[in-house]
């Protein structure tokens, strides 16, 4: 069952909720190896997204909604994650611009374009201890699940699971991008906050798809 605009709306609502619930966890993680604002930044961003995306006309496509997510995150987050997630949703929305509904291929196209947007913007590679360490395994897992002919909900669940493992994989790393790179070896043993927020957002997508 392909996913339409209601799915996107539910995904946003669940993302906003999850980010809000994990706000202090994200703050604590970012305080360890950053400036301590990731929870606040993301909560401000997704609260604004929830409001803005509600204003869209009834005939808005998934891509229209995803573009509003992008521009709102860019305008409101105030930290590195704003341009990064913003670019992700922008490139992702462009990749599915022509679809009224998102099938498995479209979901993989969205995720791939989103990840590529983050790389284009932030120049991080897997292993640099950034949100890319969650996104890239998520894209790969989604592509594999789609190739196996799984449902949209299964594809997104595979992405979320892989993002979760990816986030965990950042624990032993030294950061090569973002503020945590100032810490050198001292970043070892701490999880990258952006990889955790990525996992929350992809898990929200999987949950919204399962409920659709």
């Amino acid at each position: 069952m392909a996913l339409g605009r209601e799915f996107v709306a539910d995904w946003i609502a669940r993302s906003a909720q999850a980010i809000s619930e994990h706000r202090s966890e994200l703050i604590t993680l970012d305080r360890e190896i950053g400036d301590g604002d990731h929870g606040e930044n993301m909560d401000r961003g997704f609260t604004a997204v929830a409001v803005k995306s509600g204003d869209l006309p009834a005939d808005a496509t998934p891509a229209d909604v995803l573009k509003v997510v992008a521009t709102t995150l860019i305008s409101t987050v105030g930290g590195a994650s704003g341009p990064l997630y913003g670019t992700a949703f922008l490139k992702g929305s462009q990749a599915v611009a022509d679809r009224a509904e998102l099938d498995g291929a479209a979901i993989v196209a969205f995720l791939t374009a989103a990840r590529d947007g983050i790389v284009l913007r932030g120049k991080a590679e897997v292993g640099d201890k950034t949100m890319i360490d969650a996104w890239t395994p998520a894209v790969d897992a989604a592509a594999a699940a789609q190739a196996e002919g799984r449902s949209e909900a299964e594809i997104l669940a595979a992405a979320a699971d892989a993002a979760q493992s990816g986030a965990e994989s950042t624990d032993p790393l030294v950061a090569r991008k973002g503020r945590a790179s100032y810490l050198g070896e001292r970043a070892i043993g701490h999880r990258d906050p952006g990889s955790v927020s990525t996992t929350l957002i992809l898990r929200a997508a999987a949950d919204a798809a399962a409920a659709a």
Binding site: I74, G78, A80, G82, L84, G86
Partner: protein
């Protein structure tokens, strides 16, 4: 006319202070602060950066000075939203924000074009 400068800092105080300091040596150069989040907190604002780039364009292009990496990310994103002609007239300096801005402001005041202003800013690297 001269190249305009935009100062993108996580702190509105830093951005305003750099405008003051660099402005002292650069009478007539348009230098615009884009510091802090929309709420005035520590961070960067896409809207402030976009508006500052527009305000700094007085006909000879714009050079942007940034403090930390996320200021560069915000600025690059703002550039993505410009149309091609406007974007081609803006460049981000590879330079420390305070020292680079002073050098860039002097180069702009003495009539340097965008490449000269960028080079002046970059010359402040490694020579604090």
């Amino acid at each position: 006319m001269s190249v305009g400068l935009v100062i993108v800092s996580h702190s509105s105080k830093i951005a305003e202070g750099v405008v003051e300091l660099a402005g002292q040596m650069a009478d007539g150069v348009t230098i615009v602060a884009a510091g802090g989040t929309d709420e005035g907190g520590i961070g960067t604002s896409f809207d402030k950066v976009g508006a500052a780039i527009e305000a700094a364009e007085t006909g000879d292009g714009v050079v942007v000075l940034c403090d930390l990496g996320s200021a560069i990310l915000t600025t690059e994103t703002a550039l993505d939203f410009l149309d091609d002609t406007a974007r081609e007239r803006v460049a981000i300096a590879d330079a420390p924000i305070v020292e680079g801005a002073v050098a860039a402001a002097v180069a702009a005041r003495t009539g340097g074009d965008r490449a000269a202003v960028l080079a002046a800013a970059a010359s402040a690297n490694g020579d604090a």
